[in-house]
């Protein structure tokens, strides 16, 4: 149905798509997931040529659309798109929005277009809003109407570009429910989404995109249960990483504390975990380690927060000779560190890079 080979899209300053190749068969429901800014939407917009690719080839139903001679508007008629921002035509009522395509482009009689339109509106639960204007609907209703408009063209392929990202959390469900009913009706669907559970339930295949390429491609089971590659795993487990290093005894202590707070705020990490983190940082790094480390002090902190397990894995590496913090002569500080962490483990001294490693687990 869709063959993409060596697709590349670059702008003057960024290259959102480096080298994409994929083959999509009829009836496949593919969710495209991945961190923001990795070209998911750009890929979708290249497939219907809303963005012109810089290189590579896209073939849809035997038609090479990247070819200059291709009459793209004819191809687009069998390939609908649902936008993050809905983009209902604001000068038409909802039913007119839905009738517009069939009447203007497929030259259907108005009556037929109207009846089919009402049928679609009933399907998405908006029959009573037929004569409303877009700005009189809620976000969720707008998106359902937009899906109905896409369906009115009777497409074979539908591209969903983050269909729920602009919605209030309360409205996400109604839109996902509509998309869910479409999956499994033989339509080929590409869905860019951040709704992991939805993607897993509804898709036959998942593209994990990262840094402008399809980093991992597999069944939902494979991607979500047994991701093969490192970045996929991190993404799926939703690890939020924090790194910092201390290279001087006179480092900015208050600044460091507020950086940790900011990290917690950004990733909605429970406040208690952050308190513990700050405490460990103060007692372990400042009270225990700094006094015993050599003049050219070097401490590396790497914290990874997992939302699913609701804990932080903190790795502290420091220079000097082999030193286990449990052996220190500051029992109060040590007690506090132990109190704040679920687990404290000294992994030993590596002669190779001259660093000690301690791993801690911080929970609520």
């Amino acid at each position: 149905m869709i063959q993409i080979s060596h697709l590349r899209k670059e702008y003057a300053s960024v290259t959102p798509l480096k080298d994409i190749s994929a083959e999509i068969k009829k009836g496949e429901v593919i969710s495209i997931i991945g961190p923001s800014g990795t070209g998911k939407s750009t890929l979708l917009r290249c497939i219907n040529l809303l963005e012109t690719p810089t290189g590579g080839e896209i073939v849809i139903d035997g038609e090479t659309i990247t070819d200059k001679k291709c009459r793209i508007h004819l191809v687009r008629r069998k390939m609908g798109m649902v936008f993050q921002g809905f983009h209902l035509f604001s000068h038409m009522t909802i039913i007119e929005n839905i009738m517009a395509g069939p009447v203007d482009l497929l030259h259907k009689p108005r009556q037929e277009a109207y009846e089919r339109g009402m049928e679609l509106l009933r399907m998405v639960g908006l029959a009573d809003k037929a004569l409303a204007f877009a700005d009189e609907l809620s976000g969720g209703q707008k998106q359902r109407a937009a899906i109905a408009r896409t369906l009115s063209m009777e497409p074979e392929i539908i591209l969903f570009d983050e269909p729920t990202s602009a919605l209030d959390p309360t409205m996400v469900g109604e839109v996902l429910a509509v998309i869910r009913t479409l999956a499994g009706q033989g339509l080929t669907m590409l869905i860019v989404t951040h709704e992991m559970k939805f993607a897993r339930d509804v898709s036959t295949r998942i593209f994990y995109m990262d840094q402008g390429e399809i980093y991992e491609d597999g069944t939902p089971e494979q991607i979500f249960e047994h991701p093969r590659r490192e970045r996929t795993r991190q993404f799926i487990r939703r690890l939020k990483v924090f790194t910092a290093s201390i290279n001087s005894r006179d480092f900015d202590f208050i600044g460091m504390n507020s950086q940790i707070e900011e990290y917690g705020r950004r990733h909605l990490i429970p406040q208690k975990i952050i308190y513990h983190f700050q405490e460990i940082f103060e007692e372990l790094c400042v009270q225990i380690l700094l006094p015993v480390l050599p003049e050219d002090v070097s401490i590396q902190l790497t914290a990874a927060y997992s939302q699913e397990e609701s804990c932080i894995q903190l790795r502290v590496q420091y220079n000097g000779s082999a030193f286990d913090p449990s052996d220190c002569d500051n029992p109060t500080a040590l007690a506090l560190v132990k109190y704040a962490s679920k687990k404290l483990e000294y992994l030993g001294y590596s002669a190779e890079d001259g660093m000690n490693t301690v791993v801690l687990t911080i929970e609520e």
Partner: protein
């Protein structure tokens, strides 16, 4: 629904309130020539010495003469017509007004509270204006010389300056015109020398003289009315073969045009306020009635006003239509990919927007179309269309820009072509946004057309000027004109609002056209 209609009625009524206020307040200013008890004139300033250092009003062309006659520094204020300067004198804006004697006499007759200062400023001689090296100059001079000798000039003076109103009409052009036709431009705001007389016919001493001379020379005369200030440009550009309008023969003007020998010897005088006149009898309503009569009824002047109104509406509507179409085209050019095209269109808009419309019209009429025989109305329509297009193109462009990109992307994604997307999706939405602004711009253009008098078109404003110069009643015709402009502007606003509402989908009935709902 009823309430809505009622409220609308109230709104409409409120709109007209200012007009009513206007109409009822203004006659307070308008003191008309009702029966007056005339005492001997007591001029506020009796001699040129007394007027020293005061403000003097005039139409252009008198300043050189005045400077020669006055020893002191005076402030000069320039007015577009003699009537306006007289109005200013009566309103106390200036202390004296400089006029040609025949005009001054008429002004004194028509307005109370002013008189002619006994000291005259200078002798004046009026000449007919010719282009440099005109073939007609010599022959006209011969005829004028003959007129002086055989008493024709004296007869003309009697006929126009003192004579019976009934006799004041031009001689008929009943000669053959074997020697061709001359184009004659004249001012029409200088009663009794050149003005619009009974039934809207041009009349006056100047015109009669030119016709009589033409008869001697067996030339047909094609007459056109033109603003005084534009007479010399009309001659220079070749629009006219001869021109007149009480024009003083001065050395300065001789640099640009030729003058015939003087056909009328007169004086330049100063009009000043007369302290000897008391408030007139008859009162406010009588004054209003008189003014109304002299402005509209007398000599069927309403006919002229109606014609003027027709011209104003014609120019506005045609310019509106052509301007809109051109503006749309310009806007499309500005959206093209090719940079030179875009820059060209932008430069055109800058150029037009940066030029006062009067100047632009005069350049069009006297320079660009200077040697082409084309009606002032056509030039006005061309000028205003160009001017309007520059503004509409920017408005349409802004309107198109406000339609978010998502709308056209959604249409493209459905399979609309570029032009389908533009016409069915983007343009209708843009129209809803630019129409309200466009409406305002159009109405302001309607009012701007009041300057077309500069290119010899008799629109509503020009007609009212002509009537004012004839009746010398300064206020009423102005107010009446303002009310008429207000009325047409409002009617047009109404019509455009209706159009605007009818394309606003939200005001449409909520139904699907051409469909049987089930």
């Amino acid at each position: 629904m009823d309430r809505i209609i009622k409220r609308r009625g109230v709104r409409v009524a409120l709109c007209w309130l200012p007009v009513l206020l206007f109409v009822f307040l203004t006659p307070g200013l308008s003191v008309c020539a009702a029966e007056t008890t005339v005492n001997a004139a007591e001029p506020e300033y009796g001699s040129l010495d007394e007027i020293a250092g005061k403000k003097i009003g005039m139409i252009t062309g008198f300043d050189t003469v005045l400077k020669g006659a006055l020893d002191h520094e005076n402030t000069f204020v320039y007015y577009p017509t003699a009537t306006d300067s007289v109005t200013a004198l009566r309103a106390g804006r200036v202390d004296a007004v400089c006029l040609d004697e025949p005009v001054a006499r008429l002004a004194v007759h028509a307005n109370e509270g002013i008189c002619i200062m006994p000291d005259t400023v200078a002798e004046a001689e009026y000449g007919i204006v010719f282009p440099k090296n005109s073939p007609f100059l010599e022959s006209f001079n011969t005829v004028i010389k003959q007129f002086w000798e055989d008493g024709t000039i004296e007869a003309l003076e009697n006929k126009w300056m003192d004579g019976d109103e009934e006799e004041k009409s031009l001689i008929r052009q009943d000669w053959e015109g074997k020697n061709g036709t001359i184009r004659y431009y004249h001012d029409a705001t200088y009663n009794p020398m050149c003005y619009i007389g009974k039934g809207g016919e041009s009349a006056g001493y100047d015109l009669d003289l030119v016709l009589m001379a033409a008869k001697e020379l067996d030339l047909k005369v094609e007459m056109s009315i033109c603003d005084f200030d534009a007479l010399v440009p009309a001659i220079q550009s070749g629009k006219a073969d001869i021109a007149s309008g009480c024009m003083d023969i001065t050395e300065e003007k001789k640099k640009y045009v030729d003058f015939s020998d003087p056909y009328c010897k007169s004086a330049v005088v100063l009009l000043v306020r007369d302290r000897g006149v008391r408030e007139s009898a008859g009162g406010f309503w009588e004054g209003l009635r008189q003014s109304f009569y002299s402005t509209f009824i007398e000599e069927n002047r309403w006919q002229m006003i109606l014609d003027g109104l027709g011209i104003t509406v014609l120019i506005s509507v045609l310019s509106g239509i052509f301007g809109l179409l051109m503006g749309f085209g310009l806007c499309m050019l500005r959206r093209m990919k090719q940079k030179p095209v875009r820059l060209g269109a932008a430069a055109y808009i800058r150029l037009v927007q940066g030029m006062p419309i009067v100047v632009f019209l005069m350049i069009l009429f006297y320079i660009i179309f200077g040697s082409v025989d084309v009606s002032g109305i056509v030039v006005a329509v061309i000028g205003f269309s160009i001017n309007f297009s520059a503004y509409t193109s920017e408005m349409i462009r802004n309107g198109l820009d406000t339609v978010e990109k998502g709308q056209s992307e959604a249409a493209f994604a459905m399979g609309y072509t570029r032009s389908q997307t533009f016409w069915k999706i983007v343009f209708p939405q843009a129209a809803m946004r630019f129409l309200p602004v466009l409406k305002g711009e159009f109405i302001s253009m309607v009012k701007m057309t009041s300057v077309v008098g500069y290119i010899a078109v008799q629109d509503l404003t020009k007609v009212s000027d002509i009537i004012r110069s004839h009746t010398m009643d300064a206020f009423f015709p102005l107010i009446a004109t303002a009310v008429i402009y207000f009325a047409i502007a409002n009617l047009m606003t109404g019509a455009l609002s209706y159009a605007e509402h009818s394309i606003d989908p939200k005001r449409r009935k909520r139904e699907v056209k051409g469909v049987e709902p089930r």
